[in-house]
């Protein structure tokens, strides 16, 4: 009976797997082996086997190049960078590229943007940090990322900070929660660094955690909008408790000469902490693979289990081994074959995505998208702030991923889902497509101007010997790959039709590629 059932299952599964065996598309998929390269691959592929889900094929070099640029530095590769990588015969070129990107300035710029979302960095309502505090806070985050400050020390520096919002910028953490009440601060800490939503806790647990944040003082100085955040020792001596209860239920003794936030922070960042490492490795995984092992990545709770507990555990161990070096964690994930799978699934199983059987398509972040459009066309965007402060001047060449302040208004960024930075939730950033976005990209004067007035594209046309060469260079510039024969033929036919005259065909080629899924999505 048992054996027959086994056969029956095989019979059901085999056609399923066969159906999924699609012909290889050499533009996006490579024939490279997907045999595991390291522990991540072994763990993910084992889980996939268990679920009888076939993983996608490996992606091509061109797909990898573009993917890793966008994911790691929020920036498109230039045509030259693309050409160099694609013609490089070095078998370790993917590994080398990962190392090179992790060392680039844009790495810190792009990840400071991400942290500013989570930390609600915004000059105006409702966070009201004020422009110079925003600039200082952003600079601190960027510098910490540039220096690759150990993650545990990064968090401790934020949680235990005291001083001026302009001169000790991490204190702005305590100025950007919904209110300055201890419970609101505790909720912000739980969400940001423990990945849990305290409103789903029993109320006593949050009340207990709030004790650690109950002895903060805030005072003004003679400088306009400066604010000092400090440990109010007098208040603590007058009314502070002798003991407090941590979120894991442990009771700790408090010493009158120690800021209770330090006690909390030391508990939080200890390797035994049940939340801390889990939260950050799960976040990093979701940033690179589009989905958390626990999903949403900021909603960790007992009834939201990880889809692959071994993978989560493995990443935690790797983080400890790397002494909280987040770049090492990035490097490990980026070098895995799981990360380097194609975005074209080989399985129709609706759960394939949850188990990481392919790289998920995601629309580019609003800032990354507008930067990419600027890079291709050699144009700039103008940004300004409603607050007339010297710190709010934004030079025209400024990248959008480097904007510090969430209060800078921009129709484009808002339309394409930039988060308002009101809650610190990952889901605030939206990459959902809408008709308004499509209208804008297909037909707005903003995009049309960028293409038609682009000096860079004009130079590209002038510097090419033939329309074919121009088309090839346009492909390298926009999609970071060479066109296929079929694509060149389609374009040639179009340029010889009555629809377009002269340069219009090239303009329309640029327009079409900008509007393609390949350009608009991480893939």
């Amino acid at each position: 009976m048992k054996r027959r059932l086994g056969i029956a299952i095989c019979l059901v599964l085999v056609p399923n797997l066969l159906a999924a065996e699609r012909t290889l598309d050499p533009t996006f998929e490579s024939e490279g082996s997907i045999s595991p390269r390291g522990k991540i691959d072994r763990t993910v592929f084992a889980r996939l086997r268990q679920e009888r889900i076939a993983p996608a094929r490996l992606c091509t070099d061109a797909v990898f190049l573009r993917r890793v640029y966008v994911d790691v530095i929020g920036t498109l590769p230039t045509a030259e960078e693309a050409q160099r990588f694609l013609t490089d015969a070095n078998p370790n070129k993917r590994r080398d590229l990962i190392d090179a990107l992790l060392a680039r300035d844009e790495f810190a710029e792009y990840w400071a943007l991400k942290w500013c979302d989570l930390l609600r960095v915004k000059a105006e309502f409702p966070v009201n940090l004020w422009p110079n505090a925003v600039q200082a806070y952003h600079r601190w985050l960027k510098t910490s990322l540039q220096a690759n400050l150990r993650y545990d020390q990064f968090v401790r520096a934020i949680l235990c900070s005291s001083g001026s919002n302009f001169r000790d910028p991490q204190v702005n953490f305590y100025r950007s929660a919904q209110t300055k009440q201890p419970e609101a601060l505790a909720r912000a800490v739980a969400l940001t660094f423990m990945g849990t939503r305290a409103e789903k806790w029993p109320p006593e647990k949050l009340a207990e955690m709030s004790v650690f944040f109950s002895y903060l003082g805030y005072k003004k100085t003679a400088e306009w909008k400066e604010e000092i955040v400090y440990f109010d020792m007098q208040k603590y001596l007058a009314e502070g408790p002798q003991t407090a209860v941590l979120p894991d239920g442990t009771t700790v003794t408090l010493r009158p000469d120690q800021d209770p936030r330090e006690v909390f922070a030391d508990w939080l960042i200890s390797p035994r902490n049940p939340y801390f490492a889990k939260c950050i490795v799960n976040r990093v995984w979701s940033w690179l693979l589009g989905r958390g092992i626990i999903h949403e990545p900021d909603d960790i709770r007992p009834d939201n289990p990880p889809v692959n507990p071994k993978l989560l555990e493995l990443l935690e161990q790797e983080l400890f081994a790397a002494r909280y070096d987040l770049k090492a964690l990035f490097r490990l994930i980026l070098n895995s074959k799981v990360y380097q799978l194609s975005s074209i699934p080989q399985s129709d199983n609706p759960d394939a995505g949850r188990y990481f059987a392919y790289y998920p398509l995601r629309r580019l972040d609003a800032e990354v998208l507008v930067d990419a459009l600027c890079q291709i066309t050699g144009t700039t965007e103008e940004y300004s702030s409603a607050i007339p402060e010297p710190f709010t001047f934004i030079p025209p060449h400024q990248r959008s991923i480097a904007l510090a302040d969430g209060s800078i208004t921009s129709t484009f960024l808002e339309m394409f889902g930039r988060p308002p930075r009101d809650t610190g939730l990952e889901s605030e950033r939206s990459t959902r497509p809408s008709a308004a976005q499509r209208l804008h990209l297909l037909n707005s004067s903003h995009i049309q101007r960028k293409i038609q007035e682009s000096e860079r594209l004009r130079e590209l046309v002038r510097g090419s010997a033939s329309p074919q060469e121009t088309a090839t260079r346009i492909y390298l510039t926009i999609l970071a790959r060479l066109p296929t024969q079929r694509e060149l033929q389609v374009f040639e036919r179009y340029s010889k039709s009555d629809i377009v005259q002269g340069q219009e065909a090239l303009i329309d080629l640029v327009w079409a590629l900008i509007n393609s899924v390949e350009f608009l999505y991480r893939h």
């Binding site: 074209i344 308002p420 297909l442 037909n443 707005s444």
Partner: protein, 463 residues
């Protein structure tokens, strides 16, 4: 933080028993106790609507479905338009000393509004609009949000509130967004306020009076329909990753968004912006200028179910050469608005469409003849005029009055919250209700006497 909106279904939650202490203590509120309470809080102004808190907490039934908001940015003179004082002579009236009689005895308009005078049965003039602010930003914010500036909250424009309560979250299905601005957004304040970018109006750009109305995103200058079609086909053929990923849920969402976009660009949905479909004679009656054709455009949008259209008409900040400007601009306003009212009425749309026309304030009734103004008028927030029609507002009436020099309100003040509260009521939105702030709190839509603002009461006399 991480608080979700408590109710995202776009419906109002009403006060039960208001926020009065008696209500909170469970003591029944009698009409009399309420009146006393209100009088104390309302600094002596007579309340037209003593029942500030209704016993019935259900949202009012909607009479109006849409609003056409004709925004005269800069502040038009009240004395030259809807509140003429011809006896004051040159010092006040300059060369515009004649008036035009309306069908109602004793009610006259300025001499440059003869067509509107003939349509007086369709609208009401409020001659006692007031807020006392003389700065453009503050006044424009108050008149269009119905709230005061200052607090921590940045309130949304009435159009954003209307699109929240009657737009996509309330079952609106149109491809054309429910809240539209012809043709440029306000610029000086964000219409969406704390509601966030989803509630921003769609600003068309372009000029409805141009040979082709180049609506941003819908009509691209210099690209023929043939080339649009050619491009679309080129994109389909070159969209290699989309071809390789066909059938996925995500590609379906992309395809749907693209289909909707092309319905506007090449399909029927975008035809609403094609004014060439209108009869030339009617277009001429509206006036072949941007304001006139915007009025016509607004009618076409409302016909398609759009909820709120703002016609953002600039140029009313006439510090200098005021009378020359009025001789050009008022005839355009006269043609555009009078034809709009007539056209809406002819099509049976006036009953369900509020037409609301004003600027952020009026202008100094006394002409500044001295240099450097040489015949100009300055900002004036103490009293100004507002035209309202349709959607449950009665026509042929005058609300309130200014004094003999058009310098202050002498009867029945109408504050921005009174005006907007009246519109909300007609639109089925509880003016005393709350709106969900994205951070989880609930915010009162409009201020009340108990908040320390002066209140004139909603416009019951014409509703």
């Amino acid at each position: 933080m991480n608080a979700k909106p408590q109710h995202t279904d776009g419906r109002l939650r009403s006060y039960r028993g208001g926020d009065s202490l008696l209500g909170m203590l469970g003591i029944p509120i009698t009409r009399r106790s309420l009146l006393q309470g209100s009088l104390l809080g309302a600094t002596g102004f007579w309340l037209t609507d003593p029942l500030g808190a209704r016993a019935d907490a259900e949202p009012p039934a909607a009479k109006a479905k849409a609003v056409i908001h004709i925004w005269l940015w800069g502040g038009p003179s009240h004395i030259d338009t809807f509140d003429p004082k011809p006896d004051l002579g040159n010092d006040y009236c300059g060369p515009l000393r004649a008036t035009t009689a309306t069908s109602t005895a004793g009610v006259a308009l300025g001499e440059l509004l003869p067509l509107l005078a003939k349509q007086f049965d369709k609208y009401t003039i409020i001659r006692s609009s007031t807020h006392g602010q003389n700065g453009h930003e503050t006044a424009a914010y108050m008149v269009q949000t119905g709230n005061q500036t200052g607090g921590k909250l940045v309130y949304p424009h009435v159009g954003a509130v209307v699109s929240k309560f009657t737009g996509y979250e309330a079952g609106y299905k149109g491809l054309i967004p429910p809240y539209i601005v012809l043709t440029q957004p306000q610029g000086r304040f964000s219409e969406s306020g704390f509601l966030g970018p989803r509630y921003k109006p769609f600003a068309t750009g372009g000029d409805p009076n141009a040979k082709r109305f180049l609506v941003e995103g819908v009509v691209a200058p210099g690209i023929s329909d043939e080339r649009q079609r050619g491009r679309r086909e080129l994109l389909t053929r070159l969209n290699s990753l989309a071809l390789a990923s066909q059938g996925s849920e995500q590609m379906e969402a992309v395809a749907k968004a693209e289909q909707e976009a092309y319905d506007l660009i090449l399909g029927d949905a975008g035809k609403v912006f094609d004014l060439a479909q209108e009869d030339d004679a009617l277009r001429a009656r509206y006036g072949r200028n941007t304001l006139g054709q915007s009025c016509l455009m607004a009618r076409r949008l409302v016909e398609k179910g759009v909820r709120f259209v703002t016609i953002n008409s600039g140029g009313w900040d006439t510090h200098k050469e005021h009378f020359e400007a009025m001789r050009t601009m008022l005839p355009q306003l006269d043609k555009g608005v009078s034809t709009l009212l007539e056209d809406l009425a002819d099509r049976g749309l006036l009953e369900s469409t509020i037409v609301w026309c004003s600027g952020e304030f009026g202008r100094t009734p006394q002409v500044q003849w001295e240099a450097p103004w040489n015949g100009g008028r300055n900002h004036f927030g103490a009293v100004f005029s507002t035209l309202v029609a349709g959607g449950g507002f009665r026509g042929g009436a005058v609300v309130g009055a200014s004094d003999s020099r058009a310098s202050e309100v002498v009867d029945r003040p109408v504050y921005p919250w009174d005006m907007i509260g009246s519109m909300y009521e007609l639109l089925g939105i509880d003016p005393e209700g709350e709106i969900a702030h994205p951070q989880g709190m609930d915010v009162a839509l409009l201020p009340k006497a108990s908040d320390g603002v002066e209140v004139g009461g909603r416009l019951k006399e014409i509703m």
